[in-house]
Amino acid sequence: MISKKASKRKTEVAARKPMKRSPAKKRVAGRRAQNKQAIRNRIVKAALGLFQTKGFDGTTTRAIARKAGIAEGTVFNYFKNKEDIALYFFEQEVGHAVASVRDNERLRKAPLEEKLFALVEGQLEYLAPYERFIGAALIHALKPSSPLGPFSHRAMELRHRYLGFVEELMEESIPKHKQDPLAFLAPEVFWIYYLGTLLYWLYDSSENKQNTLAFLDRSLTIGVGLLKKGKR
């Protein structure tokens, strides 16, 4: 055990060595990347704040720039338009929710309904501060030409990533899932379920959105039960 640990430490040290060749250069590059990320975050934060108060349609890139304290031109160095900012936010949201399920050691052995619960709840928690904007974005996404809409390339990619993860979770818990001729439908159905949940959540006026929690819990228990029944 000890020797294993020691050898591991050795390889780590070895792996770190080449980096030391140009420390100054690396540090500068790292700082620049960090800087860029900080500005990107500032723009997103400013935009979300405005989406929430002024509405998505009522927000201009100029207003976003002003709120973020940068030139409007700088915004375009990072994002094409405000739809681009919104998409970036949703990518972050999905990434956050996926990571929160994956990084949770205990969840690994949890039943499927709990994993899916943790995933969707993680998303809702991430979205909660921007509830008004989410409602507007949903409506906006319904316009055929909208880059947020289901037919835009990037939105589709994001959905694939999300549903890919859902399918991964399903296979983990139901090993023979893929053999079912209708298995390909499961993630699609989940996507519709997710949109429905989002609507339910938006309209949920109960204290602390307690009804959404109950809805999520009960519906996932039933849904996963159906999924498992289909496999037998």
Partner: protein
């Protein structure tokens, strides 16, 4: 499963219209056995509100067999179980942080079911072992909906007066009160003070710092639930002692503090082998009206004839104080109740070492019969409905303990000295 039982009874009701009287009886019996078995198996999964309301309804219409009824009285409103992820969300939304941050240690799996939720072990940052009660989300709305539905389906029983509106209102109020953990926190602190004179009763200490929203934290209580306690075959002496104390506790609350702890559910009591009793659930607390308390003081162990005009005046005064007219039928069944039950179990002039043996089945049947008759007379007072429910739980527990209890003596200890005596 709820639909199963409903279906079975609905089927019975339909058949009854076409069967003769004797056939009806045998049919009823087999329906009961079948339904009762199903109920025992899966009772806990029934929707809480519907179950409790159904129980009260059946008390009045005789739809359910007595055995099942008695069991129902002690059942608890049960919510679905929560997995650790849901528990985490509930704690975070109530206390603002994840359970692992709030406590030094938190066990994600529950150790007990509670009314409307579940209970978890935890250790506070100060090192104290505590019980953390977490409520299932959306219960309040579910109850409101269930009651609405129940009001709709029980319209005929309401119209005929067999199911008084006040009974449904009263139950709804109680159920909703149970969802309010803030109120329960106040109850715990109230009973900690009020029950202090009873040295054998232990009440948990509330930790306000860890209690908010759907989370309630209190000191961890020790002891065994009734089933586990009985499994160890306690001696008759110990059973008598505990029975006597439960009885004492009940009438101390009714007659001395005018407030009553808890749903009469066994899970709400923990027993220790040294005879101590711990109370654990304070969601359901009923404060009796002053008129009720006065009436009970005067009517209990009434030394004269219960057929006397004086006793009649007692009941009339009570009803008038509550703003209701005492109907002749209600009056008759109250007297019958006293005659066939209370005089037997609580003799006004007991011998010196008198103890009532709750081990016999007979007294329980008497109680069920008389309370059913009383409920059927319409014009029941809300406080009496609650008293019947609680007493039923007490008697069930005493019956299971097979305890011998000096009933009249204990009650007498808690009675105010009567006027002019």
């Amino acid at each position: 499963m709820g639909a199963d039982i409903a279906g079975s009874y609905l089927g019975y009701a339909l058949q009854r219209a076409f069967l003769g009287e004797t056939k009806t009886r045998t049919k009823l019996k087999s329906t009961h056995t079948r339904a009762a078995r199903r109920m025992r198996d899966e009772m806990q999964s029934l929707r809480g509100t519907a179950m409790k309301l159904g129980q009260t309804l059946s008390l009045q219409t005789g739809v359910l067999p007595d055995e099942t009824l008695a069991e129902l009285a002690t059942l608890q409103m049960q919510a679905p179980g929560m997995h650790p992820s849901l528990v985490r969300v509930q704690i975070k939304r109530s206390l603002g942080r994840d359970p692992e941050e709030v406590f030094k240690q938190f066990t994600p799996e529950p150790f007990a079911a509670a009314s409307l939720g579940q209970v978890h072990h935890a250790i506070t940052k100060a090192g104290e072992r505590v019980a953390v009660k977490v409520q299932y989300p959306g219960i309040r709305e579910a109850i409101t909906n269930d009651v609405k539905l129940f009001r709709a389906v029980s319209k005929p029983a309401q119209a005929s007066g067999h199911l008084p509106k006040v009974a449904i209102d009263e139950l709804e109020k109680q159920f909703l009160a149970e969802t309010d953990y803030q109120r329960e926190a106040d109850n715990i602190e109230f009973f900690e003070k009020a029950l202090a004179p009873l040295s054998f009763v232990k009440v948990p200490r509330l930790l306000r710092k860890y209690s908010a929203g759907k989370v309630l934290t209190m000191s961890l209580m020790r002891g065994q639930h009734l089933d586990d306690f009985l499994a160890n075959r306690p001696s008759q002496k110990l059973r008598n002692e505990l029975g006597t104390r439960l009885f004492d506790l009940f009438y101390f609350q009714v007659l001395k503090i005018g407030s009553l702890h808890a749903d009469p559910h066994w899970g709400n009591y923990l027993f220790e082998t040294d005879g101590r009793i711990s109370l654990v659930d304070f969601g359901c607390v009923k404060t009796l009206s002053p008129a009720t308390v006065t009436y009970l003081h005067q009517a209990f162990l009434y030394s004269g004839s219960i057929h006397s005009a004086d006793f009649g005046r007692l009941m009339e005064t009570y009803y008038r104080a509550e703003g209701l007219k005492l109907l002749a039928v209600t009056r008759r069944s109250l007297i019958k109740f006293a005659e066939n039950f209370y005089r037997k179990v609580y003799p006004p002039d007991p011998k010196k070492d008198y103890r009532f043996d709750f081990g016999s089945r007979e007294f329980l049947n008497d109680y069920l019969n008389e309370s059913k008759n009383l409920f059927r007379t319409k014009g029941m007072l809300a406080d009496l409905i609650f008293m019947v429910r609680s007493e039923m739980g007490l008697y069930q527990t005493l019956h299971r303990l097979k305890a011998q209890v000096p009933t009249s003596q204990i009650v007498r200890n808690h009675l105010r000295p009567a006027h002019g005596r």
